[in-house]
Symmetry: C2
Subunit: 137 residues, 2 copies
């Protein structure tokens, strides 16, 4: 079960082998969330070693999808930022965010930075489609 | 070779199988850096799959060491924050940070937050010793 906090701020992309994947609804940054489909996890250490390997594989895949999102939006990604924080929503999740030196938060992290901006409806279709293809979904 | 930016802001803890481990010189948060001992890496995807697994193992170990640091300082860790950013120092590195709901940045990330505070000299000996033992170094 996915925490309701994710449902309110992101769109479903689909399920990978380990993780439920979602698009963060923030047009400022190409940004995918990976939520391991295991009950009661809070920390990376709560995953089995095999699942930790799967999480890395899926993080790399999500990084490729985030790069594809950046290309599709005309803002190619210069640096990936990957983070497992969970200070606000404790259910274990990984953020994969595409950054550029001209984005509004650079070089600071995106988490807790300013106000999110909704995607235009037309962009959202493009972005969700691109992210799903990037993830092989 | 470790980027000089790390040398200026952290203390050597030692070398694990994959990573060079350092203590971030900031008494506000128990905080360990892991820097894979491979040349020319910027992103997680630049690691081989085997090295990605090793990075996860060493991140879990560093999480245990960060928890031990928190205990030694009388501020037990409530949540680990793990991040690979590299917006300022591009050499691939992983942050493992112990967080508490009463720390000065909570619930925001620590990166880019406020001014660091140096450890007292006596605390530094305790902290480095605790971190090394936690990492098995």
């Amino acid at each position: 079960m996915v925490d309701q906090a994710f449902v309110a701020t992101s769109h479903v992309l689909g399920d990978l082998f380990l993780c439920h994947a979602r698009l963060q609804c923030d047009a400022r940054f190409p940004w995918i969330l990976l939520i391991p489909r295991r009950m009661g996890l809070r920390e990376i250490e709560d995953l089995t070693p095999a699942d930790r390997g799967r999480l890395m594989d899926e993080a790399v895949l999500a990084g490729e999808a985030v790069r594809a999102l950046g290309e599709a939006l005309g803002r190619p990604v210069e640096k990936l930022n990957i983070g497992a924080l969970g200070n606000i929503t404790p259910q274990l999740h990984l953020h994969i965010v595409g950054r550029r030196s001209d984005d509004s938060a650079w070089p600071d992290p995106v988490w807790g930075h300013g106000q999110k901006i909704a995607y235009d409806h037309d962009d959202l279709d493009l972005v969700i489609g691109t992210a799903r293809r990037g993830l092989g979904l």
